[in-house]
């Protein structure tokens, strides 16, 4: 799959490859109302990664349903919507609208965005608030409910377990790690928001560790992500316990990378004597 906020609505990549080869596309973060996002500058390149502070720029779920959904609904892959909000009511209202979109088989509940002032990550960093938002959305959302977890917590397994107990069908992790960059020449922060979300290979060891920790306690599937740049990285996440993976930042550097990884996983299975990719899940030998 492709990670939310790194693959647009899929359309941006159609010149590069046939997206039907993907397991799914997580469309960009969608909120109840239009959001302008944060001020420029929103991005800083960092060693083996980048910080972003986009701030969920989108035109709102009603615009999505009326104008974007009709364009993307017949894409030959699973189009999932990443849902975010500042209040539980906003999450619920947004999820309700998406629930009525027949060709959207699931949502990814984003309780982990570090770049919004209210809500977002605040919901995903404590068990009671995570439970409250997941339970509320579960009541109004009938299809697949994936919950995207924040790495900015002390014990991610605890939050993951709370998500499972609240009715999540799967969890995805990790969202970006809270970070910052300073320009020593100007003595100013690089990002307009001072802090932002770190992604890319720099976060991979952290992400891998968290996927593995969560896999020890969960029965529902885990979607792993965090710095996956190639087939080998994807395989590592599966060995750690991820049933599926998302590729994010790598799409910016090689827009065809996901297609390569899809074929790369097939080749790996053949080469190493696995009948199917699902046999790799949690197959790390210790």
């Amino acid at each position: 799959m492709t990670a939310s906020g790194t693959f647009g609505y899929g359309e941006e990549f159609m010149d590069f490859f046939e997206i039907s080869c993907l397991g799914g596309v997580l469309v960009k973060g969608t909120t109840l109302n239009h959001r302008e996002g944060n001020l420029y500058p929103r991005m800083a390149e960092t060693p083996q990664g980048m910080l972003n502070a986009v701030g969920l720029q989108n035109k709102g779920v009603h615009y999505f349903a009326d104008h974007i959904y009709p364009r993307i609904k017949d894409y030959d892959t699973h189009m999932l919507v990443n849902v975010s909000g500042s209040t539980i009511e906003e999450y619920v209202e947004t999820a309700k609208v998406v629930n009525d979109l027949e060709k959207i088989p699931g949502i990814e509940l984003n309780i982990s965005c570090p770049n919004v002032k209210e809500g977002g990550m605040a919901f995903g960093t404590s068990c009671p608030s995570a439970v409250a938002v997941i339970e509320a959305v579960r009541k109004v959302y009938d299809k697949h409910l994936m919950v995207k977890l924040s790495p900015n917590v002390t014990n991610i397994a605890e939050i993951a377990k709370a998500a499972e107990d609240s009715g999540a069908d799967s969890v995805s992790l990790i969202n970006t790690l809270l970070g910052m960059a300073i320009n020593a020449k100007t003595r100013r922060p690089v990002l307009s928001t001072i802090t932002g979300g770190l992604s890319g290979p720099a976060v991979k060891p952290v992400a891998l560790r968290m996927v593995w920790q969560v896999a020890q306690v969960l029965n529902i599937p885990i979607v792993g992500m965090g710095g996956i740049m190639n087939t080998n990285d994807a395989i590592e996440f599966m060995l750690a316990g991820a049933s599926a993976i998302q590729v994010g930042t790598a799409n910016f550097i090689d827009p065809t990378v996901t297609e390569k990884i899809v074929h790369g996983i097939e080749d790996y299975c053949k080469e190493h004597g696995f009948d199917k990719a699902s046999d790799l899940v949690g197959a790390m030998e210790v």
Partner: protein, 256 residues
């Protein structure tokens, strides 16, 4: 316009001075059409600090020889690595990206460039000339050694220059040049690319004189094709991506 990812071959790396160079890149087969103002995203990829691609303006194209020129200013680690590219090296590009300068509806045009911002103006000058419009260039730099590739511009049209230290052309910024100060000869359209402060002054001048002005922005970006939403500019319609809604904007559309 369809976008591609391809390996180009470096066939020449011509150093202009201590900080500027021109790369000549050859397409593996038949180069698709590109427009002046568009850019490419160059994969640098050699070190931990050059993780993202580098957006670089298309300086010129030669469809007959399937080559494109990139004017590169070495300002950071990524561009310095590009400066080390040698004949025969591969250079992976995502291209062509962004929108492009519009053709003018009136014939008297001035192309105003500063620093590395002169890059797309050569390609635009060529397109103007092909459409029967005589391009005039006003190019500014800090000092004479920053006035680069002048011969290429002179082949296409008249070239005016300014330098901040007065070592060549008119002393001062582009806005101090007589062609701008006296508004003679008449100007109907301005195309500008360069430091934001320069473009803002030029845009203001254009606004005051009822001149249509298109500016090309150089915001930092991650992807270059509308996926990351990092390179936004503030416009009358809110945040717009410099990479897909730009890099070329009408100056009056920007909230400057």
């Amino acid at each position: 316009m369809k976008k591609y990812v391809d390996d180009f071959k470096v066939i020449k790396n011509e150093r202009l001075n201590h900080e500027y160079l021109v790369l000549t890149l050859k397409h593996p087969d038949k180069m698709p059409e590109m427009m002046p103002g568009q850019f490419v995203e160059v994969r640098v990829d050699n070190g931990p600090n050059t993780f993202l691609r580098r957006p670089i303006s298309i300086h010129d194209v030669d469809y007959e020889n399937n080559t494109m020129l990139l004017l590169v200013q070495e300002i950071g680690e990524g561009t310095r690595l590009m400066g080390k590219l040698k004949e025969g090296d591969n250079c992976n590009l995502v291209y062509p990206l962004g929108n492009w300068f519009a053709l003018p509806d009136k014939p008297r045009v001035l192309l105003v460039g500063g620093g590395c911002g002169i890059a797309p103006l050569l390609f635009m000058g060529r397109r103007l000339k092909a459409n029967g419009i005589e391009p005039r260039f006003l190019l500014g730099a800090r000092s004479s050694d920053g006035l680069i590739a002048l011969d290429a511009f002179k082949e296409l049209g008249e070239v005016y220059t300014t330098t901040e230290d007065g070592s060549a052309g008119t002393k001062g910024y582009v806005i101090h040049h007589p062609v701008v100060k006296t508004h003679t000869p008449e100007i109907d359209w301005i195309y500008t690319c360069g430091p934001e402060a320069m473009m803002k002054v030029v845009a203001k001048y254009a606004g005051n004189h009822d001149i249509r002005c298109q500016v090309s922005l150089e915001n930092h970006m991650a992807c270059g094709f509308g996926a990351c939403l990092c390179c936004v500019a503030e416009t009358l319609d809110g945040h717009k991506c410099t990479c897909t809604d730009g890099p070329v904007f009408d100056s009056t559309y920007l909230k400057w």
